[in-house]
Point group: C2
Chain length 331, copies 2
């Protein structure tokens, strides 16, 4: 295993300590809970938004905590859900009287822990609503999921809903908006390599030097098909068409496009991918409102990427442009 780590069992804690050390004025950590919080709470009367998942998908989730985005995020061990207790502590810490919205990707483990956390909150008198993202068109049901999986398209939902929460939208509006985004976003990806968790130290799955996994899951779970390596044009056209047909997107639609690197794929290749997606959309008469080409939701060090398309309306467009101040940034 070639990783820049100390003991594998400490990677999440050391990452979180590094994150707080790099943002001492903005972020704080709940000791022993692996929860990252904004130091400064939202104004009273505004709904707080909390997310969480297993670690290994960075920048998702803890690097999205900050003004304009999440109020808190709970980091589980690598590829394992955070505990209900940690999520509950996160919610308690950020609730400001207007309740807490849980934004969760559709994995059975995460849904279970967030569900129990919601019950703990209710016993404390904290109003909680939960929204689920399931944007991956690759497979119906999967190793860790009943129904479709939530993948990178969910991050566009986080961006939009958190901006509305920052503006002071009501809980009902936020839930409606989150569901509207989820109903209008579709994603699909592929992996060229496996990922390697620090605890196991060897690749999660075997894959030949001339093979790729089409529709791979964020934890290396199987996708739709194992096939021989294809050119960028071939594979990107395929996954983009799958997204387009699923909704379906139509001529005249306006979309936000996300090309998401899975951890081990260079920016050069992500822009080669974007170039292909842009040509397909142009040909289909679909207008690009804004593009997002970077790493947003990764599988540790996997080589590969996903494409997400979100059909945007005016409200979504306005909220996508809302400023954020999060630790995942450039300058």
């Amino acid at each position: 295993m070639k990783k820049i780590i100390n003991a594998p069992e400490n990677v999440v804690n050391e990452m979180l300590e590094g994150l707080v050390a790099a943002n001492p004025e903005k972020l704080t950590l709940i000791p022993d809970k692996r929860v990252i919080l904004r130091k400064e709470k939202k104004d009273a009367g505004k709904v707080a938004v909390v997310t969480g998942s297993g670690s290994g998908h960075e920048p998702d989730q803890v690097f999205y905590v900050g003004k304009g985005m999440m109020d808190a995020a709970a980091a589980g061990p690598v590829f394992a859900a955070p505990t209900a207790d940690a999520i509950y502590e996160a919610a308690k810490a950020v609730d400001n009287g207007a309740g807490v919205l849980f934004m969760v990707k559709n994995y059975t483990g995460d849904r279970g822990q967030f569900g129990m956390a919601a019950e703990l909150c209710e016993m404390d008198g904290i109003q909680v609503r939960t929204v689920i993202a399931d944007d991956d068109v690759a497979v119906k049901d999967s190793t860790f999921t009943a129904g479709r999986r939530g993948v990178a398209g969910a991050i566009l939902g986080y961006k939009i809903v958190c901006a509305a929460a920052e503006e002071g939208a009501s809980m009902d509006e936020l839930v409606e908006l989150a569901n509207r985004v989820n109903a209008n976003v579709r994603s699909m990806g592929f992996g060229l390599t496996s990922c390697t968790t620090p605890a196991k130290g060897t690749p999660t799955f075997e894959i030949g030097d001339d093979e790729m996994e089409v529709g791979v899951g964020l934890h290396g779970e199987p996708g739709r098909e194992r096939c021989k390596l294809k050119t960028a044009d071939e594979i990107v056209s395929y996954i983009t068409e799958q997204c387009l047909e699923d909704l379906p997107f139509k001529e005249g639609d306006e979309v936000a496009v996300m090309v998401n690197g899975l951890g081990g794929t260079p920016l050069m290749e992500l822009y080669i991918v974007y170039h292909i997606v842009a040509k397909i959309l142009k040909k289909a008469g679909i207008k690009v409102f804004k593009s997002y080409v970077n790493e947003y939701c990764t599988s540790i060090d996997m080589a590969g990427c996903s494409v997400s398309l979100l059909r945007v309306d005016d409200r979504m467009k306005e909220l996508l442009e809302y400023p954020v101040d999060i630790p995942y940034s450039v300058f």
Copy 2:
């Protein structure tokens, strides 16, 4: 070779077309020159800044073109300098009467092409000055370099000098500022794996499963030492101490810290690295002004990272905070 590409000989052109497709209102490409320009020129009387290098180091250099950063960047083939002709065309396109500053990292190939481009500009009556970054403390002289190499610390120089140029600083001021940054920044890195260029398709150098290359160059050229894998604490302490001793940095200094991923290293590990650097600086009585933890100057898909420390003064601090609008961004 596992890459998301079409033909290896087209990767740079397809990336550049993707970059312009993703930023149609802000960027443009000089056909056949592989030069990325801002669509909107700076105001007359302001110095333009141009950079360039071989491709494969993305986001460096073309993803740094935009307001507050570069006016233009010339992209060479993967790991080979752009031509003097392309750099000359870039300079001609962005000059607004106040001259052009070339910001170059210390590689023999790049210096040669930028030198010839400067001569072409002078024949055209375009004033050109050139500044060189050589922040890497790992080795004196190297495969592609006489003297020290320029690595990720150079990007802090780009950020600072381009902000001053945007504000309207004179050419003399910009040259002085660039040299002052270079005199106060030190970097060192290490690689756990080789990188693989699309043209060759196999790793640039051989390295054992239990080995690392300390002080590795940005093209996979040898560093200071090949050694057995070390823990994050061991190797990060070593490279940070090498930077500290070289300037030397002293108790009471204030620094900007950059932890730069080389392409294949996840954000989780970069923050584990930052955590170690922060502890060393605290113990040494050195204050962190601002931290930059992400990919800034990569070696395609290499696993590894570098640490850069810049001793900042008040002017540098102000310019580091100057807003930028570049394609390498998150939301």
